[in-house]
Symmetry: C2
Subunit: 234 residues, 2 copies
DNA sequence: ACCAGCTCCCTTACAACGTAAGGTAACCAT
DNA sequence: ATGGTTACCTTACGTTGTAAGGGAGCTGGT
């Protein structure tokens, strides 16, 4: 899958880049030491001269993608100084989302990590900076960070996974649609009325750009209202 | 760990209950076929007479916990008929949260499932019902579901995992706090001002009850405002 | 009473995984 | 030249999920 360019002598960076490429191409479950080594034209054990263990590999993969986000967001922050805080953050979150869409395994992988790469801390530091500059108290900024959850990384925790929607529709087409309609009256009515136009093979079930932006705006607007109160009180 | 009551003849239900108990006691990574069989006083391969594969085991574990939530939420819904929609949903989400706190591996496991148990659909159907009854349009109800994300299950997607906070503080206590303060000025200032009182070994970093409820109220209030507009327009 | 068949559980074995241990060949400073 | 370091390889082990098939005990038809 990845180029077998075994000329230059392998390095942590090259290994991580190949790992990201492999995960993108064939899914995170295809990312095994032997397979990755194969893609690099090398034996599995050779990887251990650049990474101490597979956990470190995965940490490095996360770190690589976060660095990608940091680069884009940093470029974004350079311009747009006088923007409204909401515009600024929305721009950053949506930019991050574009990157995450290319690495659909990231949410799951990130959730399984024990340690967070520094790059992510610097990203969040920038967010807090934006909030403080807009007049948020430390307290409200902290609350806002929690409320954002994973939105800064451009994905929403959806309990209905992408596959679930597809499989459900397939099952329904085949089996008793009537039974489901009676067991789940409101849901089926809603889906019937709403029925998404196309396939949205994104980060989560129905996680179209529109849904994401709606949620994001809902939160940003809610925080904006609280910011008003916050400034008055202080 | 679990009682070795190998008298009654094993069943899907008994296997799933033991699996949940094992995951609770020793973490999801301890849930292997051999280990689970051992806890049940049986050999690994015997489990395959009740479950076709490990994936099915995990599906069943998720299903079991969801059923637990459905039971509690159902009991909750029986009373409280005249409540405000926000009060009603908040009560349900917080009840679900109490259960999820006893199964901290659930968020990750749920995220890795390909199919969603029916119990979860019925839970969400009830939520939609509450929203519709409060005057939400199908469209806004749909949007609300997405905005809720995993809040109905009582957890928020936190990118800073529980371990991250702890390890960071440990590292900091040992190493260069000054360097971090200069690299992450806003974050360190915020943490210094906010510094959580105790340890909150919950579903996510700093995911105390307070943070969760704040986020929840922020969303509910935002939706309430949109509901007003929604009803006027229609 | 018998015995075929089914259910439930066991034993054995295999492939894939992460990785420990140690080998070898190239290179580099002395 | 030589001794050490580096980068990669070979072999092997323990753990995982699970395929294949064996055997004991219950059950129902005759």
């Amino acid at each position: 899958m990845a180029a077998r360019a075994s000329r230059q002598p392998l390095s942590r960076k090259r290994v991580l880049a190949a790992a990201v490429a492999l995960a993108d191409a064939e899914g995170i479950q295809a990312l095994t030491m032997r397979r990755l080594a194969g893609d690099l034209g090398v034996e599995a054990m050779s990887l251990y001269h650049h990474l101490p263990a597979k956990e470190a590999l995965l940490d490095g993969v996360v770190e690589t993608v976060i660095a990608e986000i940091d680069a884009v967001v940093g470029r974004l922050s350079a311009n747009g100084d006088g923007e409204d805080w909401r515009t600024r953050l929305r721009g950053q979150f949506l930019a991050a989302r574009q990157i995450m869409l290319r690495h659909p395994w990231m949410p799951g992988l990130l959730g399984s990590r024990r340690a967070i790469p520094v790059g992510l801390y610097t990203y969040y530091d920038g967010i807090v900076g934006t909030l403080l500059q807009a007049g948020f108290s430390h307290h409200l900024a902290h609350r806002a960070l929690h409320a954002f959850g994973s939105l800064p990384l451009g994905f929403a925790q959806e309990v209905f996974s992408p596959a679930a929607g597809a499989s459900m529709e397939a099952d329904v087409a085949e089996a008793d649609l009537a039974a489901m309609a009676s067991a789940l009256p409101h849901l089926t009515a809603m889906v019937a009325t709403e029925m998404h136009d196309g396939t949205d093979p994104t980060l989560g079930w129905c996680d179209s750009q529109l849904e994401f932006e709606f949620t994001l705006n809902l939160l940003l607007d809610g925080l904006e209202r609280l910011r008003g109160r916050d400034r008055i009180r202080s």
